[in-house]
């Protein structure tokens, strides 16, 4: 089974990882100690940029674009410099203080702007990026304004003064640590859900994610890294000028991230390094060889940005594909971690009572009542436009009913989508909502989001190994149930649609639901795949006693597995009964075939 479809992709095996790292460290040490100060300075800049990009890349991965990150770098740089020079604060305190300040500002800005949608967010970031830059220039007494802030004391750690080489080393140590931390984050619980948030935030919410909170955390964390980078910048340059933190710098960070690729933290480092090299080459080319005035390399980068976005949105990572391994749990661990499903009572039935839904002038549902009890597969059918999707959205809290109610064993349906999964209801989607950047196994693991506890910090510190191993084990069990265990490590895009739908079911099963809601699972399936699905649903009903609601168009599929059917037409309940009753019901027949006069 060849998982590599595109030629030119090489997989960096994880087992070779430590050797590669050791080699890079050795090379790095040699370079830093042997090269002239000029080149070491370049390495310093690369490291500083890499720090910013690692954070920015993560933010971009959650679908948020920041055009103002240079402002955070500047805030970190200036506060560190001011604390060190004007207040004599030792380095080891100045750096964390600056980072804390930046994180606070980021939190405030985030609270105000992160809920802006679409193009409004990047523009808001552009706005405050520029506003903060202007403040750097205007606050002459504090920052020295346009003439700059000089005489920044050198970096001082435990009495050892670090000049350029020391700062470079320290910066790259931080880059290394950040890289390791983020690799773990990307691979872990928050990383998975972050990737889901970018394209499919409804799905992420349906599996319990607090999307605004996750976005905020990513944003504040990136501000912290940017501030750290700023501190190193201050200690390296020993002189700060506001133009280093102007809008052009923010654009440059964006280019680095897009160039390198946002799918994996190594992309950020590659982007940062490549950018500095390209800038150097371009400056040489334009200034020395062609004799053009400065700033011309900006044009080159503008073109690079556009071309990359249009042709290779994955950046340089299109050709480099690092592969991650997932930990195996030693036996016996699987049972030890608690699940949300353990704490809640088992659901016996879901009742929909007299639900109405209006959209402006459209009366989509008119007083519909259905019930979905345990141990039964309930079908919801009806001609196109009957209101099936609307009812489904009402039951899953995505688009709550205008009047009427949905009750789970008598308790009302939660108002927020993200709380629904905790009640024991899990769902699949009409248009498959799987994260293309993740493997099959990782997609299924998203189903266990609510059971996990690992956050950014615990993932970064590697404290989530046990939890991850247990989750992976559960995910494999779910995949086994749907018959797709051998596809676990494949990229999701390599599976045919039928299998993808089964993966969605496996993901839903991760949360051990008592109620499974399926939205047109048969669309696009071939005959064999439909049979597979039918078998699976029947076994879930018989062995797990699940309540299953199946919204479908495909009559062959519906008739071959459901126990009870509700028929909708024009937003009203037309009929209910078993297969035979429905198929011979004249009202149903005329609803499907149409009335005459």
């Amino acid at each position: 089974m060849n998982t590599e479809r595109l030629s030119g992709r090489t997989a960096i095996r994880a087992s070779r990882g430590p050797w590669v790292m050791a080699m890079l460290v050795a090379v790095g040490l040699v370079l830093v100690s042997q090269l002239s100060t000029y080149y070491v300075g370049l390495l310093a800049l690369m490291g500083i940029n890499a720090l910013v990009c690692i954070g920015l890349s993560f933010v971009l991965g959650t679908g948020q674009v920041s055009l103002g990150h240079a402002a955070f770098v500047g805030m970190g740089a200036y506060s560190c410099a001011i604390l060190s020079r004007d207040f004599g604060v030792p380095t080891l305190l100045a750096i964390p203080a600056s980072m804390a300040l930046c994180m606070a500002v980021a939190y405030v800005l985030g609270r105000i702007t992160l809920r802006l949608k679409g193009h409004s967010l990047p523009l808001a970031t552009l706005a405050w990026g520029m506003a903060i830059y202007v403040c750097f220039v205007a606050a002459i007494d504090v920052t020295g304004g346009a003439s700059g802030f000089g005489d920044v004391p050198p970096l001082n750690v435990f009495g050892i003064t670090m000049e350029t080489r020391g700062v470079t080393l320290l910066a790259w140590v931080c880059v290394g640590l950040a890289y390791i931390a983020f690799r773990r984050i990307y691979r872990g619980r928050v990383g998975r859900i972050a990737k889901a948030i970018k394209a499919q935030s409804v799905m992420a919410t349906a599996f319990g994610a607090d999307v605004p909170a996750v976005k905020m955390k990513a944003f504040v964390l990136s501000a912290a890294l940017a501030a750290l980078a700023g501190c190193f910048y201050a200690f390296y340059m020993r002189f700060l000028s506001p133009t280093s933190f102007a809008i052009g710098a923010s654009f440059n960070y964006l280019i680095m991230v897009v160039l390198g690729g946002a799918a994996h933290p190594i992309g950020a480092i590659i982007g940062a390094v490549t950018f500095v090299l390209m800038e150097l080459a371009a400056q040489y080319l334009f200034a020395k060889a062609l004799g053009m005035p400065g700033q011309m390399e900006t044009m080159l980068f503008g073109a690079v940005l556009i071309v990359m976005l249009l042709r290779w949105p994955d950046g340089l990572l299109t050709w480099l594909k690092p592969r991650e391994e997932i930990f195996e749990a030693p036996d016996g661990h699987a049972a030890k971690l608690p699940q949300v499903a353990d704490a809640r009572p088992a659901v016996k039935r879901v009742d929909v009572k007299q639900v109405t839904k209006r959209f402006g002038g459209l009366h989509a549902l008119k007083g519909v009542s259905i019930s979905v009890p345990t141990g039964r597969i309930t079908g919801l059918i009806g001609p196109n436009g009957a209101g099936k999707s609307t009812l489904f959205n009402a039951v899953t809290a995505v688009s709550p009913a205008t009047t009427g109610e949905v009750r789970i064993d008598g308790a009302p349906l939660p108002r927020h989508v993200r709380d629904v999964i905790r009640t024991g209801m899990a769902r699949t989607f009409q248009h498959v909502q799987l994260v293309p950047e993740l493997t099959v196994l990782q997609n299924v693991m998203i189903g266990g989001y609510i059971d996990g506890r690992a956050g950014l910090v615990s993932s970064a510190l590697g404290l989530d190994r046990t939890e991850e191993a247990v989750m992976a084990g559960r995910a494999r069990a779910a995949l086994k149930q749907v018959g797709l265990l051998e596809a676990a490590d494949r990229p999701i895009g390599s599976l045919p649609l039928g299998s993808q739908r089964l993966v969605e079911v496996a993901r839903a099963l991760m949360s051990r639901p008592d109620v499974l809601l399926l939205d047109e699972p048969a669309a696009g399936l071939r005959a064999g795949e439909k049979a597979q699905l039918v078998e699976l649903l029947k076994s879930l009903r018989d062995e797990r006693g699940m309540a299953i609601l199946l919204v479908e168009h495909d009559m062959e599929l519906v008739m071959s597995c459901v126990d009870h059917i509700f028929v909708l037409n024009h937003g009203e309940l037309l009929a209910e009964g078993d297969c035979h009753q429905i198929q011979t019901n004249p009202a149903v027949i005329s609803a499907y075939l149409g009335t005459e006069a």
Partner: protein, 342 residues
Amino acid sequence: MDLQTALFLLADGLTNGAVYALVGVSLVLIYTTTRVVNIAQGEYVTFGALTLASFIEGAIAPVVWVVGIGGAVSLALDVRQAILNRRSVVRPVAQYAAIGAVLAALTLAAWHTRSLALQMLAALALVSALGPIVYRLTVEPKPGSSTVVLVIIGVGVSMIMHPMALLLWGPDPRSVPAISDGRLPLGPMDIAYQSLFVMAVSILATLALFAFFRFTLLGKALRAASVNREGAQYCGIPVVLAGRLSFFLAAALSAASGLLLAPLVTAHYEMGFVVGLKGFVGAAMGGLVNYPLSVAGVVTLGALESFASFLSSSYRDALVFALVIPIMLWRNRHAQEDLDEH
């Protein structure tokens, strides 16, 4: 602050506002017809002003090369598209040749003439031609791009055009003669005729655009192309052409703004960027979809800027940019539920 000062600041503010208005209006035009938020819009202001300066100095504006090369690349792409779709190659070639001929004629005429009007016309035509070229190269390849991607692409365009102006014209400011040098006394203060001219053009342009999109079928068709692309196609609206036409009009308006602004602030390569951003702030007040509100927005911005400058000149821009955020928040909340599918 006494009344006289306040009035003076107000007049100053209104003049500034009028300048930003044309840019603001072109931003609304582009957004309502193509869903692109064009950060680079200010660059057309720069190019317009500097192109006119070149003609006045008796030189061929270097922008001709950009238009020529850009046009050639666009033509190559169009020809390739025609071949892939098995359609006639003659049509695109003929269209480009015709446009090229007109531009060449105007350029030559402007180069040799002393007439300011002809030079302005040529400058306007050349810079406007940049609009559809940018559209062809950055938006057309992927018309379904999300607005966020389009914003970043706009950043890229800005990064190309900004230094390009420096490359083509150098860092020195150039003078451009005003259409009229006089000043109009108005009570305790006076206003330059040129400023009034700018205001008049801005108002006229806004009204014209408003009328065009509200009352003419062509205007509605342009809007429809971005409201529902599929539906527009089934009405026979050529959606690709609509996009190019929109960028053309927007570039023309911004270029016009540059032509008129240049005598007041002297033409130099930095002039457009900040004007573009401020035009954007004003347009944002109208949610980027409403012409009259956008103009009200830019004018308010101009006035605010004037007063803020009086209060604290160095922090003026910070205050202005920071204003964007509450405006966007306010618009976000008042934004009408999106009825359209795209």
